[in-house]
């Protein structure tokens, strides 16, 4: 199930929250667990078993790691095994066919591909589980003795399928006992509606432009349309992803949890380094805390730092999808961030306007690399962007999508938030929420286009 569906809004939400709110405190985790199982199992019943096995395995591994306190070697072995298990499951379901295809291509073998589809949200929940195991091993969190609590943490529906990646230490207290106050539900709902509108009204709308360019064929478009399309995708992925995150944070608040913020106006950044401090914050923090710093971070000399950065960006790219373009996308960021680290940042800091133009150009190009999986097609598209080709095709699409693109650009800056922040608590805020909600329902009622972008994650 996804949030941006009538099924979620008019069936799941009223039924689930009615039960959740009237349930006494000590049974709330059980209700949340059961509700999340329905939520997840609705579209992916066969992968319910996988996620539950994952929870059980890590639950037992956690108990064992805790019990083996003092027996360093054995404890380390159990820990390594569970890390291997988690990454192994992720590897199998997400990457096995990528490797088979490429081995076949390179070695001329003909290994049959595995018959697997990517389980929904596996990249997100695997990272969440690993945060528990790693922090437990490093003695930063206490062991979770309740299967239900650990299970609830993993399958909790708000952030299950598209993030944010909530690490265990951020919610373990909330799992033990949380206060649910009406003011939280109120704020949570407002966030949810803003997220829903981001996804349904803006992302789906501009996303259609990107899709149509695919239909026309990259080789048939003009340079102007190529840029318009790249900008459209840039807005689509932000409003889609940020929309999901806002909905998740909002729903989390309605449940009594406080989830971390995932986006902080990434498109106002003055450098690519800053962009990644504002984009998908929970993922970058995860890689920082559980990969970059354990590798030694920047404390082992310059060369080692660069190697570590390369590893982190390679893995970041690969995490987004099992294809070469995602690897390329990660390496692209590695190069930019390395250049900025070596000299560019100092220059950018002194040139305000240039730094924003440079950052947005770099980001827009990165989204093209991200969006076009086929490397040959990617070449064609980049060619259309940078080798001038005239044509009047952009005219129609600018007329059709100009308004929504402009709206998206404005809403990517904190300006609108300031305005909304001023009115959101009054009658005006309620009216805005209601109008946005009805508009979203209208778009969902007549939707021929409502994509889910994270099926590759």
């Amino acid at each position: 199930m996804v949030f941006s569906s009538l099924l979620f809004l008019f069936w799941f939400m009223p039924l689930f929250f009615a039960v959740y709110y009237i349930t006494p405190k000590r049974a709330k985790n059980a209700v949340l667990f059961a509700g999340s199982i329905v939520f997840y199992g609705w579209g992916e019943p066969k992968y319910l078993i996988l996620i539950l096995v994952s929870v059980l395995f890590n639950y037992l591994a956690g108990l064992l790691i805790n019990a083996l306190y003092g027996r360093t070697a054995l404890r380390r072995a159990v820990f390594s095994l569970s890390v291997a298990f988690n990454t192994g499951v992720l590897f199998f379901f997400k990457y096995i066919n990528f490797f088979i295809i490429n081995i076949n291509r390179l070695a001329g073998t003909s290994i049959t591909q595995a018959d697997v589809t990517l389980p929904l949200g596996i990249s997100f929940y695997t990272f969440q589980i690993m945060s528990y195991i790693i922090d437990l091993y490093r003695e930063r969190v206490a062991v979770e003795r309740s299967f239900l609590r650990l299970g609830t943490y993993i399958v909790m529906f708000p952030q299950l399928i598209a993030g944010p990646i909530v690490v265990y230490s951020e919610v373990n207290e909330g799992l033990l006992g949380r206060r649910i106050i009406p003011g939280d539900a109120e704020e949570g709902l407002k966030l949810f509606v803003v997220g829903l509108a981001s996804k349904v009204m803006i992302a789906n709308n501009v996303g259609r432009l990107w899709n149509e360019i695919g239909e026309i064929g990259f080789s048939n478009i003009s340079t102007a349309l190529a840029w318009l399309g790249a900008i459209a995708f840039t807005l689509q992925i932000y409003f889609d992803f940020n929309g999901y995150s806002l909905m998740a944070v909002g729903l989390g608040r309605m449940l009594g949890f406080c989830f971390p913020r995932n986006f902080n106006y990434p498109y106002i950044s003055g450098s690519v380094t800053e962009f990644w401090r504002r984009w998908h914050i929970t993922l970058s923090s995860w890689f920082r805390d559980y990969l970059y710093i354990p590798l030694g971070g920047n404390r082992r000399g310059r060369l080692r730092t660069y190697v570590n950065l390369f590893i982190v960006w390679f893995v970041t790219g690969f995490w987004h999808g099992a294809d070469w373009n995602f690897i390329l996308w990660g390496i692209y960021f590695f190069i930019l961030i390395l250049l900025e680290r070596i000299f560019l940042l100092r220059f950018l800091e002194k040139h305000g306007i240039f730094s924003h133009v440079y950052t947005m150009l770099a980001v827009i190009v990165s989204w093209v690399i991200f969006a076009v999986t086929d490397l040959k097609e990617l070449g064609v598209y980049l060619g259309r962007m940078f080798l001038p080709r005239t044509g009047s095709d952009a005219l129609y699409y600018l007329g059709n999508y100009g308004f929504i693109i402009l709206l998206g650009c404005v809403l990517s800056t904190p300006a609108a938030k300031g305005l909304y922040g001023r009115v959101k608590d009054g009658l005006c805020g309620t009216v805005i929420s209601a109008v946005l909600f009805f508009l979203c329902v209208a778009y969902l009622a007549d939707a021929s286009f409502n994509p889910f972008l994270y099926f590759r994650f």
Binding site: W11, G183, E186, L444
Partner: protein, 379 residues
């Protein structure tokens, strides 16, 4: 309570609205047919063990939730209006052009096109008789100048020419250029503004092109008595059903009297006899175009009372032909009409029975591009 509402207005609003909709779903009887969208809607599925385990229940339930939404039509109109406010010139793949004329947005070939062309080519090559083939372009192709500026769609002309070129080697094939005649009259109302079909006038120009190829003497409309032409107003077609925007005027439907004839639908186990080619009852419903030929029977035969032409026609067609066939009643004594989508018989038998008949395949390009029933040509 009042204090709670004042303090938490959004919570109260949501609690009320989403519960009301849930109750709406539970108590509102399912709507069978949507007049606005001109299609049947999905009803609430019942829970079965099999349905839940293979996921089909969940899938149907989601469609049901979308299609049986309380106040669905109001929401659909709200969305169409919102698209207008955002200055969009299209909705659900239908583009609004000059004077509110609606067009289909077709940017690329469907993968069925190549396959359909292959099947037709091999049907013609294997045939032991002459086969006439006509492909009718869509309104967006002929009336390009009425599209919004800058919108370039796929070229149907290129595709049709390419297909014809490929068949030019075949000795039994005679391809019919319908494009030129329509193009010469592109400033007339040859296509409906709100529907994907050509108008009766457009069909007449198509008929003229076909007559030249089939070596027939076309009936002149001026030669018919003045009251031979009939009209009905208020037709909103399939394009409108998807577009649903404001400010679109309805179309007029016209039709011409035919000579006295019998019209029999032979698709079912029992033949169904009709009084003429026009189903006047359909004019009071939404889909008024269905009045022509009583819709799309799999196989039907129109036969003149007074045989005077000595010629017979077998026509394989889609719904575009429905408003053209009446003109052929001035040239053929007997017309067998086959719509492969709903045809369950053996085509070879039909062809064998009428060995001397002209054989014409007449299809709209969109149909050729999308349909998946051409394999029945091999039956």
């Amino acid at each position: 309570m009042a204090g709670f509402i004042r303090k938490y207005p959004v919570t109260v609003f949501f609690a009320v609205i989403i519960s009301a909709f849930l109750i709406g779903y539970l108590v509102k009887p399912d709507t069978e047919f949507s007049e606005l969208e001109n299609r049947y809607l999905t009803k609430r599925p019942s829970v079965t063990l099999k349905g839940v385990s293979d996921g089909s229940f969940m899938e149907t339930f989601e469609t049901y939730t979308a299609e049986q939404l309380p106040f669905r039509n109001a929401f659909i109109r709200l969305k169409a209006a919102a698209e207008r406010v955002m200055l969009k010139k299209e909705n659900n793949g239908i583009v609004c052009g000059r004077d509110g004329q609606l067009f289909e947005k077709l940017l690329a070939y469907n993968k069925n096109l190549q396959r359909n062309e292959d099947i037709i080519a091999s049907f013609i090559n294997d045939s032991d008789r002459r086969v006439f083939l006509g492909i009718i372009p869509n309104s967006f192709e002929i009336q390009k100048d009425r599209l919004p500026r800058g919108l370039t769609m796929m070229s149907e002309k290129e595709a049709i020419d390419g297909f014809y070129e490929r068949l030019s080697e075949s000795k039994y094939c005679k391809t019919v250029n319908i494009y030129d005649e329509l193009d010469a009259h592109r400033d007339e109302r040859i296509y409906y503004f709100t529907d994907h079909h050509w108008t009766t006038r457009g069909a007449y120009y198509g008929y003229l092109s076909l007559c030249r190829a089939l070596d027939l003497e076309p009936v002149e409309l001026e030669s018919l008595p003045e009251d031979a032409v009939k009209r009905a107003q208020g037709f909103y077609g399939t394009y409108y059903a998807k577009y649903k925007g404001i400010g679109i005027s309805p179309d007029e439907i016209t039709w011409y009297d035919t000579p006295e004839l019998s019209y029999v639908n032979q698709s079912g186990s029992e033949p169904v006899y009709h009084d003429g080619l026009y189903d006047i009852n359909k004019l009071s419903g939404y889909d008024k175009y269905a009045m022509f030929m009583y819709g799309n029977p799999g196989i039907a035969v129109a036969e003149l009372e007074k045989k005077e032409h000595g010629r017979e026609l077998i026509l394989l067609k889609d719904s575009y032909s429905n408003c053209l066939i009446p003109f052929f009643t001035y040239n053929y004594d007997r017309i067998t009409v086959i719509d492969l989508r709903y045809f369950g018989g053996k085509l070879s038998e039909v062809l064998e029975k009428s060995g001397e008949a002209d054989l014409l395949l007449l299809y709209n390009f969109s149909h050729l591009n999308e349909d998946s029933n051409f394999y029945k040509l091999r039956s």
